[in-house]
Amino acid sequence: MIYEVSNLAIIIFLFIVGLVLGLSFYFARKTKSASGYYAAGGNIHWAVNGIAFAGDYLSAASFLGICGMIAYSGYDGFLYSIGYLAGWVVALFLVAEPLKKLGKYTFADALDAKFNSKHIKLAASISTLIVSVFYLIPQMVGAGDLVVPLLGLPHWLGVMIVGSIVIFIVATAGMTSTTYVQFIKGAMLVIFSSLLTVYILRNGLSLTPNENYHKFVQLEASVANDTAITISDPAYVIKTKIIADKLTFVKVEKDGNTGWFKLNHTEGKTILSEMLFITVTADGTKLYNGAPKSDKKFFQVGHLSKIIVDGVEVDKTGPVGPFEFVKTIEKSEIVRFAKKAFTDGQDKVTVWYQNPTSGEDIMKPGLLYKISKATGATFWDRLNFLSLMLALFLGTSALPHILIRYYTVPSQRAARKSTIVAISAIGFFYILTLFMGLGSMINGVLDVESSNMSAPLLAKTFGIGLFSIISAIAFATVLGTVSGLIVASSGAIAHDFIDKYLQVEMTDKGKVKAGKIAAISVGIFAIILGILFKGMNVSFLVGLAFAVAASANLPAILFLLFWKKTTAKGIAWSIIVGIISSIGIILFSPSMYERYGLVPKDAPIPLDNPGIISIPLAVITLIVVSQLTHKDNSAKDLNK
């Protein structure tokens, strides 16, 4: 997709980035000690910390990923909103206060507070680093996606800009500036998402999303002997016919221009429906709807094909309330765009065909995660759904960059209140994701190449000002989240590994310096990964980070807090087994096989979400190893 670059967008973007950097400079002067760098001196107000929590949590995955997923797959995207928010219940009721009581700077400190074990230090620092890096990749990819329409820059440059700014922020000020950046960003994200939702509801539902929306060509045709297709309009000439997965695609030429159409049989008629397509020719040239990208022939999509209000079909509704909006979509029909790839001679062709879907199917689970037997769901499909819901529920309270925020407030009471502020802000935002996602689905804003940009592009239809602000906030979202992750990663390397595990003697100043060097190294690594993983689904990687966190960290945290027989070796082995099993399952999953260019069905483990296997494995490991090594605990108690 080619986007017009707006000067206003650039000005707003520079203003917000400038604000973030200004804050960093201000707080950098105040950060002198290790506790100031890693935990903001433990003196952040609970309300500020709560919104900062929301800022940390509402990353690119939430704002860009979930809205995009809802825009493409309806309610299944909203499952992520439900699961992500439910995860906070575990954080609030089980983890927040005890962890605040145990910890000092990092997640590893908390786990190790009782044992002072080298095994735990090593395992926890590895786990923190791995989860943070997995979480970093989608943020960087999201940043790259954002700058394309916002600033007209290539993807890699966006990743470089984010990486450089974040390295600068983190290396100068640590957790204090990260907290205030997250506070401002979290608050702005919720406010402007609310405004966007108001615009969506005021706009209502219409069969014509906007004046410039593409009018799809439909050609009447006939099929003889189940094979020969003839188009009624003689101006169109059929060049090729391809059958892929029982779907028939036809290449058609008119006045020297070619296009791809899909053969449909509806109400006794044979119709050829226009599609979007990208062709990669033998010499590597990429054509969008048969022309170079700069010709702007590749358009945005997503519209309603039928609107039903009180049993009557209408063209538009006018302004609607939130419940009426959801109810009307459920009664109506929406045209989604399904993707299919095939080869045509030496050309690699990817098409997006119109897929009219009833609102009823959109407003319940099942479009992305097959769970109904009626749609052919298998045992593994349903296990995949269960596994996803489990990982989302248990992953939140095991994310290191979320856990370290408990150390930035002065008391357990403040930790609890922060969490409640966070749950309220995040819960409210997640309800908005349904409206922003559905709004994107029906307002002709979808860029079929990247679902991540659905919400910002929706804002663009309501004015360049709103688009600029929303995009700049989304960019700040990435900045803030990446900052938090890099602080957590640098803590794992400099504090947990170098200082605690290797026991390198360092002064307080030296520790801060080591943290900053670690932050710069992780930042550069994240930039490289962000460029390498371009085009990868943001939510896929975040889901992976959740599953790894839930498998590696949560059993260790919960058993440490609630089971007295837990031993240091039990914790360390549980973390290691959790990491290896979750990553191992993902590497051999159907989704990864598809990415390797292999046949997904050949994957040895027919499961994309590993939680259902890896979490119980980590729990069993912890119990068994703790039972086998319980004498270690007794010896320790005697020594005290």
């Binding site: 928010l85 219940v89 910890g103 689970p365 759904f385 819960g427």
Partner: protein, 92 residues
């Protein structure tokens, strides 16, 4: 020395009681959340059932889980604060 909290946390005599309340509320929420997952797994068609003012079960249950988490958060905070005030008169 290295294993002290970043900021000093006073002795909390209400800690055990709060932990017990947390576990009870966690179990309650987990049961409601599990109900959602179980319906999705065993009878997904039920999610499309129209309930109140034209909204289906999926929307009501989904929104309900989000709102319930927030409401339970406030309830938990209310009782924890009460316990702390009662049991830690000189602390916190």
């Amino acid at each position: 020395m290295l294993h002290e909290p970043a900021s000093k946390v006073g002795t909390d005599k209400a800690a055990d009681k709060k932990a017990r309340l947390g576990v009870i509320m966690f179990i309650a929420y987990t049961l409601v959340y599990s109900g959602f997952v179980v319906i999705g797994l065993t009878n997904p068609e039920l999610m499309g059932l129209q309930l109140i003012s034209g909204q289906n079960l999926a929307i009501i249950y989904g929104f309900g889980l989000i709102v319930l988490a927030i409401v339970m958060g406030f309830i938990y905070n209310y009782f924890c604060t009460k316990m702390e005030d009662k049991m830690n008169k000189t602390n916190l």
